[in-house]
Subunit: 402 residues, 4 copies
């Protein structure tokens, strides 16, 4: 089966895909990112939305995005209901509301036969993640979990290098998302003023694992593929009045024999974004930092460090597919994110046209990634409550897991 | 006069601007960049085009961009004629064809009352540049010359720093665009196979100045504003069979007393992109490299180097306006380019709504920048033919200049 | 009490200090480093030695260093005995033999009234370290433990910054020495051919903690000063046939409430040296990498990153004392190491002249640092054998500790 | 002829070389650097000196360096006279006094049969440089011109790479030493208070070429070897009251057809040291910055950038000879400078023992390098006075040159 040419696919499809948003209004940080990422390649057109819990914001967003007035809804249930009935109804929905909404929203749209793009974490428990995994399969729907950093060409190159054996047998896997914005350094006296991200009753005490550590873990999982067998965790709260943990250290053991560490933090004061990974095998080590995303460093044992940059002909198809400009023209975060929309858009169009879509879909994080992350999170919480003792992590595919 | 809120402007305008393309088809490198940059913010929608001299390419591009069949034209004259008559005709045209086309194409569209976005160099002579400058004013049309690097937030921050006196009196200005792709390292034996960029009969022997050195010069001009008074030039040809110069060294003197150098090259073998500048004043020096565009380095005399990164609150309004993400999320080339489209889109919408548009338009390179660059180019060619002697550069505003 | 001028001290002392070496012959990696570091400032002259267990190497080293033939000894006991009797006997001894020799050698020379410079780890148990700590005090001898990275000016600046409160209350302390030379990636089939560093019977199974992790730990201890209260450890062996652990992960808790991690590794394949630290407090974070040692990065929360470079006037006296050249002239490893010899040489000369020597001695790692590191090591070994459970670390000053 | 083993050479010579200093006292910046560099390897011992024009400083320096009182002299003539008569007289002299002293001092010591280490620039005219070149040959004396940056292993690797053809035919050579210390940003009102470096009557108006630009030029000459055929120069004075030029731009043409630029500056405000070079050939480009001296970047055309670091086995003998530590242990400026002393020390010892010394001497800048630099300087001054016109540079070997 030969590769599908993307311009041919566009010509055959003949129009943009219709998408709707849950969340992502002008009062949200992530909304502008999704809009830009979605628009870069012109695969999608925004047609509908519940952009905010605040109807004024939701309507203002809709107008500034040139939407028809009757496509702004008051709830995701209403949107699912009405859009499913329209001839020109949305074909894809983005779920960018807080995590405790994800499960219910995803369920409704999957059931209505609408493909889903969902912000991480996929849900608030391993059980919910497993149900969505099953449901997507039953309904034959496509599902993209926006671990957006998986869209960077050099992350994809790392995946190709690790899986093709260029590092030899993998021994060490380290990743972190240790941030420290002033915005998260303080808790208001009045609990009602605290951000939903830091409320124990909504998010659980270990919310940091899903909110932050999950991106670090996902990078390693996306690249390596092997699962963690056990975890030892230390979680702490540093900021006064905070209800949840704001620093999480995980030490990990893999079924393959590899060892590693994951660090998620809100109190790495001064760090800008702080997402990075390092992977060491028998033959060398690989490093990548999200703040310098065009470059992957490979250091073979005994040899000179190799700076592997985006855009060169010696890269794998995984990296070249998501690469748009010649070397020396930095692409950055929005284009990495756009790669998820591009792959998902192509997959959805191809499937609608009855074409094989796996070539696009295989690069995307999906419900299965969500199950893997939630399994780790639940074991880590357990270890932390148990004096740091090693806790087994359920396998995504195990019978116990569902 | 208060600042116009962009979301309000969008809501009042109520739709996207209609744009047409001359060039930029699937057979062009720059086409994809313009498409992505134009789409990021959703201000423009592509409606018409002459995408290529090859009608098959032009039509294929149009279909893949979902255009109506009757909006694909055979010549820019036909497009100008017909679009000007349509109720839903294009309001803006992008001229991305080779430089010797720019003058005629721009003239036609300006005359038809259509605003122009034009690739650099603006034209092939100072005389042509001056005529376009006059015409744009007579026709009250907006004109954006896509010196795209002027869209980077940190270039704009440099402009704000230099102009507010943070470096003290400026003494030294250096810039270069020294590239060395394998693609330009060789000339075919058959002159007919050579790229138009390297043909003396089309481009003139000093074409490198407009193609490459102009970006380096424009960065300095955009930031500093003062004009060069005289130039000493050394131009050479290294690649066998090449008809034009492929390396240009300019040493410069400014009316202000500053000195500097500009380097444009096709034979800096191995360089990726190679665009950078350094500016030194009495109080310190400023550096920026396009390949690491989020960071501006300021080194005050006697003090620690200052890494000035995009996204922080201590930046000037010039830098924050074009900044989309929090620090640590690299933006890159496409978003810098998109800033030109955003400013131009807002300016065009504001003017159509009878609102002041200068707050958007002032950040954009325009016909006047084109005249300044063409003046330098003509003096440099003269010096190079005259044993490197200093040659006076005509001022953009001088009586002689028109 | 005013500071002692070093040139005055030199003039008053009127000659170089006489030093002898145990180990450090031409067959040792570290010997050349000690020779260069010792010579840079001209405080010491080599007079005697047992340079190697191989007498041929020992003699060849002595001749190449222009030593008198009767000052080359067969054992450290003989050297201590005979040198103590000479009028021109050595005043300082360097112990650069393998760790299991340190305790006996140090004891002999301290007892003979000779000041000691000793390679890390100080000994093979907490008990031995404590005994040396006591003995040095009883004998009123000076003792320098060559945690050489404490000689870098920017490490000393970090100490000054942390201790003066510039980071606010410290929350997170991370350090690592994760190396991966080809030289340590393989174990010979014949156990007799294995390096002493990797033999369980000589070094114990957790030798990596003293050999490698101790440098990482010492950096944090040197800078922060506070002690670790408990540790959770994961130690693994990756290289086939290896008798000892070759990767060690420690998670740490401090009495102060801070948390942290230490990583020591021989299997971070491809890493050059890999020593670095990161420290986060309420107000910002600090980073330093030994491979770029002139620069300390301070990132205040919410503010631009600050590149703090060696040689500037805004640095603390701790950093300026060990700084030799103007900014822009990199100093590197040998001069950092030389700073330990310089401080120790000045301390020894000052004490011999009856002057206060604390101003020099206070910057040096000593027996007390050795006790702290050995305490951590013993607790880490315990935790690793106990399913990763948290293990209390004995305090250096506790009654239990001796 | 096989390579001489350095330890064998040391053993056979059996003692350190006796050196004397002209200049380099405690009132000089460069003195401490020479002392450290000279001591690192233990090839030299300081025995005599005229350390300063101020006898108090000279004596204080001597005492702090443990010299005998009768080896401190009032003039270099006296020192040459008396040391030449002593059995234990100096065998090597360092000339670190201001440039207008170099010629007379070097002449005296060469004539007395004493080998010379001399600071740059070698003299104040091409004529003087040529005379020293002749004299050294007539007297069969060794002469090292301390263009100290030629001691960096990675500069030597660049030489090996360029000369072995790894870059193909060389096209572009750029170098600069553009500094901007606060110390040189101001001129006192009273001409008598101005530093000798900025006095026209002592140094000539173009002194910046010998003081600063000469290091940049020498790097290129050391690496490439080919001579410049013509130069176009622009020299300016920016600092008020300054008697000499403080910025020099040279554009260059080589006999080989290559082109290039050299920049020397005192007014690049904020730069730390600012020495760097870039060399482009048909096959790729090479870059090196003195402030990051362990790394040489090679960018082959069309290929990934190669970070070539010190200490690896794939380097040429030129780089490995001057490399002391394993990768990851930065060496820096003092050890690069020490490499000049090491090579010179070995050359002097070898010649005294009747052994071939070329293997050591060939790596060192000598009188011939001095002639080449002075030739360029005189042509540049001429071009600057002649409206920037191209001025021919005398060849070092031409009949006209002496």
């Amino acid at each position: 089966m030969s590769e599908i040419d993307i311009d041919e696919l566009r010509k055959n499809f003949g129009r943009r895909l219709r998408i709707g948003f849950i969340g992502g209004g002008r009062d949200s940080v992530i909304g502008g990112t999704h809009l830009a990422a979605m628009r870069v390649d012109g695969f999608f057109e925004l047609y509908a939305g519940v952009f905010s819990v605040d109807p004024t914001v939701s309507e203002a967003t809709a107008r500034a995005e040139f939407l028809d007035a009757d496509r702004v809804y008051e709830s995701f249930n209403e949107m699912a209901e009405k859009e499913a009935l329209r001839e020109d109804g949305i074909e894809v929905v983005l779920i960018a509301a807080p995590p405790h909404i994800h499960f219910e929203a995803a369920k409704v749209f999957l059931t209505k036969g609408i493909d889903v793009i969902c912000e991480k974490p996929i849900a608030v428990s391993r059980e919910q993640a497993s149900q969505l995994d099953d449901l997507a399969q039953q309904q034959s729907r496509l599902f993209c979990l926006t671990h957006c950093y998986a869209g960077y060409p050099m992350v994809r190159e790392a995946r190709a290098m690790v899986r093709s054996g260029q590092l030899g047998k993998i021994r060490i896997l380290e990743a972190e998302l240790a941030a420290g914005d002033p915005g998260v350094s303080f808790e208001p006296k009045n609990p009602a003023d605290r951000h939903w991200r830091f409320r124990e009753n909504i998010m659980g005490k270990g919310a940091i694992l899903g909110e932050v550590a999950s991106h670090a873990h996902h990078l390693l999982h996306y690249i390596y593929g092997e699962e963690i067998s056990a975890v030892s965790a230390e979680m702490s709260t540093f900021v006064p009045r905070r209800e949840v943990y704001d620093n999480a250290y995980l030490t990990t053991r893999y079924h393959s024999g590899a060892r590693g560490r994951i660090w998620g933090s809100y109190i790495a004061a001064g760090n800008d974004h702080g997402l990075c990974f390092r992977i060491y095998g028998e033959l060398g080590g690989l490093q990548w930092h999200q703040e310098d995303p065009e470059v992957l460093w490979f250091k073979p044992i005994g040899g000179q460090a190799q700076r592997i940059a985006r855009g060169y002909q010696n890269l794998s198809p995984w990296a070249t597919r998501g690469s748009r400009f010649r070397p020396g023209h930095p692409e950055g975060y929005a284009l990495a994110f756009a790669n998820l929309y591009a792959d998902f858009g192509c997959a959805v169009m191809a499937r609608q046209l009855g074409l094989p879509y796996e070539q696009f879909y295989k690069a995307l994080p999906n419900t299965s990634d969500g199950v893997v992350t939630m399994s780790l999170i639940e074991a880590a919480v357990e270890s932390n409550c148990n004096d740091g003792r090693w806790q087994a992590v359920l396998s995504a595919s195990s019978a116990d897991s569902k």
